[in-house]
Amino acid sequence: MACAFAVVMIAPVLWILGLSLKDNTLLMRGTDAVFSSPYTLENYGNLFHSSLVFRWLLNSTIVAIGQTLGVLTLSSLAGYAFARLEFPFRKTLFVIVLFGLAVPEQAVIIARHQMFSWLNMHNSYLGLMLPGMSSAFGVFLMTQFFRAIPKEIDEAALLDNTPRFRIFWRVLSPLTIPAQATLGIFTFLLAWNDYWWPLISATKKEMFTLTIGIASTQTNFAQSEGLGFLAAQAVFASLPVVVVYIFFQRHIVTAVSGGAVK
């Protein structure tokens, strides 16, 4: 049974791989041509002619990496404070932040769009990466991780009157590197794949991310004369996440299943 599902799971992917390797004029006569040779890499070569695809790739990379670094910085600072330090309204603030987990993006999107219009931040990298940094998930995850570190480790440093930031940076942060990797990869994938915010915020073609860019080339799909080329674009656009997935599978699984069980 599970094997049958695996076939259903993988057949569409093989289909699109096959299409991407076929000559477009051959496909015009019938896509069942996929099942027999000749195959060609021409569609992938043609990617180099449409320069915007590479611009979108660059945009996605900048946005995803920037957003990831932002989330890591903000959440580990906040996670450290929530887990280790005492300050007025700590518990109340933590509950409010957790409440943020429950707010769907649609509830804020229109107001957010207006705000970014006032600040003239649409079609900018900062504008694309900032909204993702407000996610409460990272703060929640990092708080859990900081809590799990034994107290003895930093209590000694505190007796020596070491400044708090230094304890955070030199003593505790290095211990959270596995957690940072998990959160980082998770955030990277989310940012890379985001569709809703870039669709609204990026209106100039040069500022599209790969996700939006590829979607914008899909109009008139049924009449398209370049099915093979479209397929090649899809394969090309998903290569970075597939590579990330293959290399960091273990961390992704931890991120997905880790916090949820308790």
């Binding site: 289909w15 896509t31 007025p88 649609q106 999107i109 909204p131």
Partner: protein, 291 residues
């Protein structure tokens, strides 16, 4: 003298200040501002006039909105149980330490890492009439082709198939994690009593992972209510709006027709629906536990 470690201190809050700034300005403020917008008649140049609940009246009187709500509810009612059942089934089948099962887990989860654009592109290649994978399959079988993306009863279904394919990995992984938490002696005791497989499942496995099932269902309800990209890219809401979900309605009202107040009102309605659905689900399942 060294300060006591846990002494409450304002300066400690400096660590959360950067995140809190982003959180308040990009989530809390827009949330409140969105509610305010929904109570105003907003024009394109930023002018706003308070009109009370009129936007909500307009939304509720809009048959297009009613249809979108209906589509979304049908979609959630079908896709969420499917995802929970399939995810649980796969987790049970792959809860082994063999190489093959860990490969299969990776395979089933791999689709979740793709963006909605790629997922819909893949499934359009499957569903398109004439040249799609299914069309070829149907021809080979000698069956009449179906307009999966263009026929009234089929378009929402096709969006659902792509969605299940895309989202299945997360429930499966969560169930696997839960299954691995069940202590082995429970199964040993069941084996001693020579309980059947079904009985072992209903008496041991199911009660142990019940809280995970609730969690998965709530996560999926919240996620599937936000259906947008698949419908927009695969069917564009058609034919005749039969696959237009609420979020697409919000998008079209707010960002295509620039009726900002009405769009904001619709998004607040969606927010409320999601909250209520998740709470009802939680309440129903936790009540059963007590009985």
């Amino acid at each position: 003298m060294a300060e006591s470690y846990r002494r409450s201190h304002w300066s400690n809050a400096l660590f959360i200040l950067p995140y809190l700034t982003v959180f308040v300005s990009l989530l809390v403020f827009p949330l409140c501002w969105g509610v305010w917008l929904s109570l105003n008649k907003v024009d394109l140049f930023g002018g706003a006039r308070f009109i009370g609940l009129k936007n909500y009246v307009r939304v509720f009187n809009d048959p297009v909105f009613a249809q979108a709500v209906w589509n979304t509810i049908v979609f959630v009612l079908v896709s969420v149980p499917t995802l929970v059942a399939l995810g649980l089934f796969l987790a049970l089948a792959l809860n082994k330490t063999s190489r093959a099962s860990s490969f299969m887990r990776g395979l089933f989860f791999s689709s979740s890492i793709l963006s909605v654009t790629i997922v819909t592109l893949i499934w359009r290649f499957v569903f398109i009439p004439g040249d799609g994978l299914l069309a070829i399959l149907f021809d080979a079988m000698g069956w009449q082709q179906i307009g999966f993306l263009s026929a009234k009863g089929w378009s929402l279904f096709s969006v659902g198939v792509a969605t299940v394919w895309w989202c299945l990995g997360l429930p499966m992984m969560l169930f696997l994690a839960a299954l691995q938490q069940i202590p082995n002696d429970l199964y040993e005791a069941a084996a001693l009593d020579s309980a059947s497989r079904w009985r072992t499942f209903t008496r041991v496995t199911f009660p142990s992972i019940k809280s995970t099932i609730i969690l998965v269902a709530i996560i999926q309800i919240v996620m599937q209510f936000q259906l947008f990209g698949q419908a927009q890219l695969m069917t564009n809401g058609g034919p005749a709006g039969t696959s237009r979900p609420i979020v697409m309605y919000i998008y079209e009202t707010g960002f295509v027709r620039w009726d900002v107040g009405k769009g904001a009102a619709a998004s607040e309605v969606l927010f409320l629906i999601i909250l209520v659905a998740a709470m009802v689900q939680y309440w129903v399942t936790s009540n059963k536990e007590e009985a």
